[in-house]
Subunit: 227 residues, 2 copies
């Protein structure tokens, strides 16, 4: 059976990595079953065989692939007859970098403490130490005042909002990897935090609902919060 | 002959509208010749037949089309055998709104005074009055301190920069409407202002050079500044 090493919390059913969600959704999109193996930050040795220290890691028969973009490319090449992720649209790369350099750096500042709270005891120590070093502040200081940052965050989403007012999905009439990239970020939040990021009437909220319902409600059924 | 009403300065060969440049490049992309008719802000009556007050306006035989997105859609539908603008990539819509709500609002604050300087006497009056009303400040006040805003502007271009480090064009291996959208914004700057927006070693600068060279150097030959 195909295996995906997938970031998990203390509750092994809580899966919250934005990069793993890209691949979870892509596998569902292509109708490919997989064992979603829970993996914790401190279990580096478990994925040592992949030659690097981060998830997602996909093991598919003889093939081991890591890095969400490379996994998506692998799935497109290996399963060309399954529904396309539309990775050939060059603009998907822009969406990827927008998510990684604009969206996620703001999201993390809402989520850092909630992530910490849901980890195993061992991961908690690792996470606090590594993230506080990265930010040069305590987790509490990073998250502080998140309510006041919400209007700025929502304004930053303007290009996404206007696009989703015009069309069903980022990729057009049907979803593609660009949708899974951006949805992965929102699903990261939803699976780990009860902090509400979007107004109910926001077109982004309607799109997220559609994404949660895709593939028999694959993402909607995941352990998370109803926000 | 096909006609495009195209924003011009006091020098009728100075064409600087970002929205017109999208269409100038798209026509060149499709190998479609056109008369590029100079049009000034205060010549509303000249395009009254189009039912609205802004350029670009394309007159193609019996058809009159305005709004750069609609013109691109029209060109794709009317000339399906000419090279595609790849408008079917849903993510192009996101690029459009990124350009219009993130990129252009910052660019205008560098360019406002340079635009004014290149207009006819009549347009100068109209432009100053309408833009100062819009911004609630004088043109001089809006532009003031632009050197200090440059690092922030260049940081804002991160998703664009990282994408163009990975691939030749926004649309992938070959250019598409997404490239013409973002290039239109940079060409707006280049045709009206000697203020340098990019470092020479910036991958965006290399991409712009490629764009200037496309279609026999169509954009590179345009009246503008070598910045």
């Amino acid at each position: 059976m195909r295996k995906l090493y997938d970031l998990a919390g203390a509750d092994e059913n809580r899966r919250f990595s934005p990069y793993c969600w890209r691949i979870r959704m892509s596998l569902a999109h292509k109708g490919l079953a997989a064992d979603y193996l829970p993996w914790r930050f401190t279990e580096k040795e478990k994925i040592q065989f992949s030659g690097q220290e981060r998830v997602p890691v996909l093991v598919d028969g003889e093939n081991t692939v890591s890095d969400s973009w490379k996994i998506a490319e692998y799935l497109e090449a290996e399963y060309p007859d399954a529904p396309s992720l539309k990775l050939e649209n060059g603009e998907v790369m822009f969406i990827k970098f927008w998510a990684e350099t604009v969206l996620n750096p703001e999201l993390i500042k809402f989520l850092l403490l909630d992530i910490h709270q849901h980890l195993t005891a061992e991961d908690k120590i690792y996470f606090r130490e590594s993230r506080e070093k990265l930010f040069g502040k305590t987790l509490e200081e990073v998250v502080k005042g998140r309510e006041e940052r919400l209007p700025g965050f929502q304004k930053m989403l303007t290009p996404l909002r206007l696009t989703l007012k015009k069309q069903n999905f980022l990729a057009g009439d049907s979803p593609g990897f660009s949708d899974y990239i951006v949805f992965g970020s929102f699903q990261w939040a939803r699976c780990i935090s009860d902090f509400s990021l979007l107004q109910t009437e926001d077109p982004i909220c309607e799109w997220r609902k559609k994404m949660l319902d895709l593939h028999d409600g694959f993402a909607g059924k995941a352990v998370g919060y109803s926000v």
